[in-house]
Structures are given as C-alpha cells and as structure tokens.
C-alpha cells in the first residue's frame, strides 16, 4: 500500500533519516517507535508526501486515500468551530453520516457543540472520525494517545483495532506507549535515524538494538504483552498453545 526504500532525509546539513526501508500493507497495524529526535514524525511526513526525501523512494498505491491524525491539535480560541464544521473542513458530508461516525469513535457530542469545550481525548477521537469520513485506505496516527490517560489509551487502541477491522484499512502509527501499543500491533519498526530493528513485537523486544535504546525494563513490559499474545494461560498457570495471534489472517482475506 505504501512502501519506502532507502529513504534519506537531510535537513540543514543534518541527516535525519538514513536508509529507511518500510512497508505497510492492507489490514496491518504498523507501529513506529523510537526515542525523541529519532525522526519518527519526519518519516511520517515524508511517507505522506508532505516533505520531499533527499534520497530513496516512496511508492504509494494508486489513488491511495489517507486519513491523518495530527499529533496535537491546537486551535486558536479565536477561531469559532463546531463539531460539524470541523468534520467537514475538507469534505462535505450529511449529518447522518457525521453522527454515525461519531458513534463509531464513541464520541457522543452534538454536532453544534463548540470544539473548544472538548477534552484532549475527545479531540483525538474527533480527529479520528474526520479521518474515517474519508473512507481511508491508510490511516496515519501520530501519537494518538497524547494527553490521554492510560485507561483512555487502552480504549483508544481497541478502537483503532476495531476501526482496522471495520474499514479494512492499514494503520501506521507513531507511539510512545510501548506496553499498550504492542498488544494491538502487527509489526513494529524501531527507528533511530535508521531502522534499528523491525518485526513482530515479540521479536523486536528481544533485539539487542531495542534493548540498547529502551532498556531491559521496557523489553520486559513488552514481553508481558506479547507473551499474552502468543498463548493463553490455563487456570493453574500452565501455558495453553491454543491459537496464534499473528494477524496473518487479515492479509490473505483480501
């Protein structure tokens, strides 16, 4: 759906991205992790075509519709904006459709409500609703859980999974919440100006580069979740190898 190869981005003599290979296919939830200044946002912006690469290529599927959720939505209080007007900023839609989408993201806001009274979490859901109104093939979420507490974050990731299933789209997100995000991710790319390691969450958490960047405690946290993913525990704590949650079944369906 979208594929970068050998991507290089240079800004002001500084090499921000170097030799980045990355691909996202339909039905996948791909998460980009990495320390501050690793170039995560630059990579996203380059993939979206908002910034030109200095080298390498980005290939997007023909007529790819992208839904984008910005990292932080700060709207000047002098700009009066209702929920309805925000949702239809770049594409018109009827009230029925808008209400339906607000229902999907579980935001029970009236269309005439001012967006200045919404909380951080509600604004994120509103952004998601706007992105989904485009019926996107690819959903790009830049730190979707900023300003959201941990319970809210878990809920939001569940919503993202449900969205992927309902809209049959691909999801590419940037995240800091290592522990929660991993449980809902098909593939992880660990970025630090170049791709340090990538793969399923369980593989990445054991990778020496990942340990070097995030430390053992992060890896442990990750392992707990991915552990849960591979198998279930029986009543006595024994491991039941019942099913594989590799999410591969989403790929061959289409």
């Amino acid at each position: 759906m979208i594929e970068a190869s050998g991507l290089r981005v240079e800004r002001g003599g500084q090499l921000i991205l170097n030799g980045v290979d990355l691909s996202v296919s339909r039905g996948e939830i791909v998460t980009l992790i990495g320390p501050n200044g690793a170039g995560k946002s630059t990579l996203v912006r380059t993939l979206l075509g908002l910034e030109p690469p200095s080298g390498g290529t980005v290939r997007r599927a023909a007529r790819l519709t992208v839904g984008y959720q910005a990292q932080k939505l700060t709207i000047d209080p002098t700009l009066p904006l209702t929920v309805r007007r925000f949702l239809t900023l770049t594409r018109r839609a009827g009230d029925d459709k808008l209400t339906e989408m607000l229902g999907h993201v579980q935001l029970p806001a009236e269309l005439d409500k001012s967006i200045h009274v919404l909380s951080g979490g509600e604004l994120q859901r509103l952004q998601l609703a706007r992105a989904l109104l485009r019926d996107p093939d690819l959903l790009v979420l830049d730190e979707p859980t900023q300003n959201v507490d941990i319970t809210g974050a878990v809920e939001l990731y569940r919503l993202i999974q449900r969205t992927r299933d309902a809209f049959n789209c691909a999801v590419l997100m940037v995240s800091h919440d290592l522990n929660v995000v991993m449980a809902s991710t098909t593939r992880v790319y660990c970025l630090n100006n170049h791709i340090c390691c990538s793969g399923r969450p369980a593989e990445v958490s054991r990778h020496p580069e990942f340990l070097r960047l995030f430390g053992q405690s992060a890896a442990d946290m990750l392992a707990v979740y991915t552990h849960d993913h591979d198998h279930d525990h029986g009543p006595g704590g024994e491991i039941l190898h019942s099913h594989d949650h590799g999410h591969d079944h989403h790929d061959h369906a289409h």
Binding site: L50, Y68, T78, L89, T90, Q127
Partner: protein
C-alpha cells in the same frame, strides 16, 4: 450621489471593510497581527518606489508588500531568528526606509500625514471605483479559497495530508493582505491598517460559532465602524481615519459588555 465627499468616503470605507473583514479573520486566527503591521509599514516604501519609477503609489505598495511578505516567509523558514524578531526588524526598517525615501523624491511633495493616518475625505471618484474593484477582487479570492484556507488554518498538516495545497493557498493569502493594505492605506492610513484587520473580526468573534458567521459579522462590524467613525468625524470635526478606528474599538467594547450581561447559551 458620488458628488458629496462624505458619501464618497462612506462608500469607499465600506468597500475596504468588506475586504478587511474576512481577511482579518485569518489574521486573527493565525496570530498574524504583527505580520499585517509589517506589511502596512512597508507601504510607505512602496509609495516612494511607485512614484520614483513612474507608476501609481498603489501599484508600488502592492509590489513592495508582496516582496516583504516573501522575504518574511523565507526568513522565518530559516529559523535563525524568531518570527517576532524578524517582523520587528523588517517592520521598522521598512517604515524608516520609506520615510527617508519619500524625502528623496524630486519635484513631488508627498503628503506624509495622508499616508500615515489616511485621508478618506479626499478620495476622488476614480479612487472610490478602484477601491471597490480591489475590494471585489479580494473578496472573490477569499470566497474562492475559503474552505482550503480555513482547513489549513485549523491544522496545516492534516489539511495537507488530505490534499489541500498549502504553498499556493498561503502565497495567495499573503498577496491578498498586500492588496488590502494598499486599499486601506488611503482610508485609515498606514499606522492604523492593522486595526481594521483585527478589531472587526474580534468584535464578531463574540457572537459567532462558525468561521463563516465570524467573517460576515466582521464585515458588518467594519461597515458600522466606518459609518459611525465618519459621522463622528463630520459632527465633531475629528480626523477621519482615527475616528473610524476609535468607532471600531468602541463597538468591540460595546459587544463585550452585551456579552457580559447576556452570556452565550452555549460556549463558542
């Protein structure tokens, strides 16, 4: 009808209010008041330039305004200096250079006060026509670019990701401000142009719940300020440009008081 100087002044002023209202909303939303000020201050340099190369002062003002705007955008991209510093640098050096430049014009006496504080009561019929042509052009452009401009103002990245071309729309926006400055210069003067861009939209904000309502409200508030200011100027023999701005400010305060007594049913 156009024979009466006061009628001409009101008609010209309303033309300017129609252009500054919607455009001023973006100036307020994008926190570009200082940017507007900088373009206004560069106008005097434009006047001198226009006269020096034998073109009209208005054409010179538009050209200088666009040049200054492009220089601003370029300097801000480099991020060596903060936006505030860049604006302060360009704003006042442009005004200083303009003041010097007009003294070098051979054989032409430029009425400095008219440019600095406006001379709306002296607008000729031709000037009224030109102000309306310019105001109509700006208004049509704003309407044509309204949706992309609002989307970019709310969040540039999201709008871009959704396919809104940012660069051309923003360039057109800057050109429109330069045009509006050239139009408004004759009415309220270089030093007070920013007031017409900021005060009417701020007045309208108190009653608006959508961007469109605010833009329409700003046109109404601007029109009221022009009519009220000119009436006051005529009645009490006060300078016209400053009277219009004072009327706009009084209207803002009045609306604020109304809102304080009758708060909005739902927050906006």
């Amino acid at each position: 009808m156009l024979d009466d100087f006061l009628t001409r002044a009101v008609i010209a002023g309303i033309g300017v209010a129609a252009a500054t209202g919607p455009l001023g909303c973006f100036v307020v939303w994008r926190r570009m008041a200082y940017f507007g000020d900088t373009l206004a201050h560069s106008a005097l340099l434009g006047v001198a330039l226009g006269i020096a190369i034998g073109l009209s002062p208005t054409v010179g003002t538009v050209i200088t305004g666009v040049a200054i705007a492009v220089a601003l955008v370029w300097l801000q991209r480099r991020r060596t200096w903060s936006s505030d510093t860049v604006l302060g640098l360009l704003s006042h050096s442009a005004l200083a250079c303009g003041l010097i430049a007009v003294t070098f014009l051979d054989g032409v006496r430029v009425d400095l006060m008219a440019y600095l504080f406006g001379d709306i009561l002296a607008v000729s019929r031709m000037e009224v026509v030109w102000i309306w042509v310019g105001a109509l052009a700006v208004t049509c452009l704003v309407i044509a670019m309204w949706r992309p401009l609002v989307a970019l103002t709310v969040n540039e990245e999201t709008a871009q990701a959704e396919g809104v071309p940012a660069r051309p729309v923003q360039l057109a926006f800057v050109v429109m401000i330069a045009l509006t400055v050239a139009l408004a210069m004759k009415i309220v003067g270089i030093l007070l142009i920013t007031a017409m861009l900021v005060i009417p939209p701020a007045t309208a904000r108190q009653f608006a719940s959508t961007p469109e309502q605010m833009a329409l409200g700003a046109v109404l508030a601007g029109t009221a300020a022009v009519s009220g200011g000119l009436s006051g100027s005529f009645a009490w023999d006060t300078p016209a440009g400053p009277s219009i701005v004072a009327a706009a400010a009084a209207l803002f305060a009045l609306c604020g008081a109304v809102r304080a007594v009758f708060p909005a049913r739902t927050p906006t």
